[in-house]
């Protein structure tokens, strides 16, 4: 998670479109969460949100709250899906990023804090691209024995 966060801070900004870029941390963890349960969704949402809030200017807590709620929702969607289907997870994470960006921009606007409105369009598109690229890796990551919880009878 730290590595993904560092990539978000140091590499993705150089690939920005109209000063906006996606979040590899949110995208990868969102895809990962769709293959796990609610408990993991809560913890992953909390940790990833705290990392994203760390350097976010003007407010603290917004990313954490939104990540927990959205990841819980994504986990619920993931439970109903058949394994191997790529379209729904990719679109779900994209929509989740769109909702998150919209809520953040609206909240900042209500408090009189200016933000980049192009992010409303760019961030979901960027997330869609990252989701398509990293879907298989996130599935592989969720299958690593250390990561996956295995029930033994």
């Amino acid at each position: 998670m730290l590595v993904l966060f560092l990539i978000d801070q140091t590499l993705l900004p150089f690939l920005a479109v109209y000063e906006s870029y996606g979040s590899l941390l949110f995208t990868f963890m969102g895809l990962f969460i769709m293959q796990t349960d609610y408990e993991d969704a809560f913890v992953v949402g909390l940790l990833s949100g705290l990392l994203q809030d760390l350097y976010f200017p003007h407010v603290f807590g917004l990313h954490t709250l939104l990540n927990v709620l959205l990841f819980t929702g994504l986990s619920r969607i993931g439970l109903t899906l058949k394994e191997g289907k790529k379209t729904i997870p990719v679109l779900s994470v994209t929509v989740a990023q769109g909702i998150k960006t919209t809520v953040i921009i609206v909240v900042l606007f209500l408090f009189g804090i200016g933000s980049n409105y192009m992010a409303l369009l760019i961030m979901p598109m960027y997330t869609l691209l990252l989701s398509i690229l990293f879907y298989k890796r996130s599935v592989a990551y969720s299958r690593i024995p250390m990561v996956k919880k295995e029930w033994r009878f």
Partner: protein
């Protein structure tokens, strides 16, 4: 409601939401980072600095090859400009010597000497693509405070918005959250607050609003800091006026300004610190 409370996950989410909303309300207008953010940032910054610097060098390297012809033409024009400036410098040397003599004679205090200039490095980008903000590697331990300006040798580029112990967040002049008091070189009556915005094609722009309708500001005028409040020295270049809009109904003008320095291309960055903070409150 009771069903919500019985479920373990729902209970956790409700408690977390309450805690986070409280935290959110507490931090929304604070300009100093909390202990958690400050400490975690201090731990991550060294790695972030290395990776960001490496990527920045790679970007410059690729940019050089993509813009080779442009760089060649720029180099030729800079050589010509250098020759002209050297000739001017010879004339200015004698003027400066006379100026210095007069200053000593009248014990004139140079306002520039009332400020320190601390070199800083950009170690990452913050804001997650929603707010354009940069992380620099110095904070309150070096005396930095929110509201202090960031500059290069060419002019002002931005302002510190939040500080932690060993790092700070900076927003550029084109950010809507930044405002600096400015004036024009020709006429001090054309002064006002400069606010940032992003123009067409994502150009870094700013505007001075609520100028009196009879202000003599016009296209092409250089805009500089006024030094009001003694937060920063006067006379530092901010940008150039690109157009002036008149609102005769409200008897005011708005001057649109193109910023002089592009933050992304800036090399050496400095924070301007007043030597004495007694008369200055950020």
């Amino acid at each position: 409601m009771s069903k919500l409370w019985q479920n373990k996950l729902s209970r956790r989410i409700v408690i977390l939401t309450a805690v986070l909303l409280t935290l959110f309300g507490y931090t929304v207008f604070k300009d100093h980072q909390m202990l958690l953010e400050s400490g975690a940032g201090a731990a991550l910054n060294p790695v972030q600095k290395v990776v960001y610097s490496a990527n920045k060098r790679l970007e410059s390297f690729i940019d050089f090859f993509l813009r080779y012809e442009e760089v060649k033409l720029e180099n030729e024009s800079l050589l010509k400009e250098n020759i002209e400036l050297k000739a001017n410098l010879r004339n200015f040397d004698s003027l400066e010597a006379e100026n210095q003599r007069l200053k000593e004679m009248f014990a004139f205090k140079n306002r520039m000497d009332q400020y320190d200039y601390i070199g800083v490095n950009v170690i990452g980008k913050a804001g997650g693509g929603i707010i354009t903000s940069y992380i620099i590697d110095k904070g309150t331990e070096e005396g930095l405070l929110p509201g202090m300006v960031i500059m290069t040798e060419e002019g002002i580029v931005g302002q510190i918005t939040e500080t932690a112990g060993t790092w700070s967040l900076v927003e550029t002049l084109s950010s809507e959250n930044i405002s600096i008091h400015v004036t024009t070189l020709e006429d001090n009556s054309s002064s006002g607050i400069l606010d940032g915005y992003v123009g067409a094609g994502q150009r870094q722009m700013a505007k001075i609003s609520f100028l009196p309708v009879d202000a003599s500001i016009k296209e092409g005028d250089p805009v500089v800091t006024s030094g009001l409040g003694r937060f920063y020295p006067p006379g530092f270049l901010v940008g150039t006026v690109t157009r002036v809009e008149e609102d005769r109904g409200n008897l005011m003008k708005t001057a649109h300004v193109k910023t002089a320095v592009n933050f992304k291309e800036a090399r050496m960055l400095y924070v301007v610190l007043p030597k004495s903070l007694e008369d200055v409150s950020y």
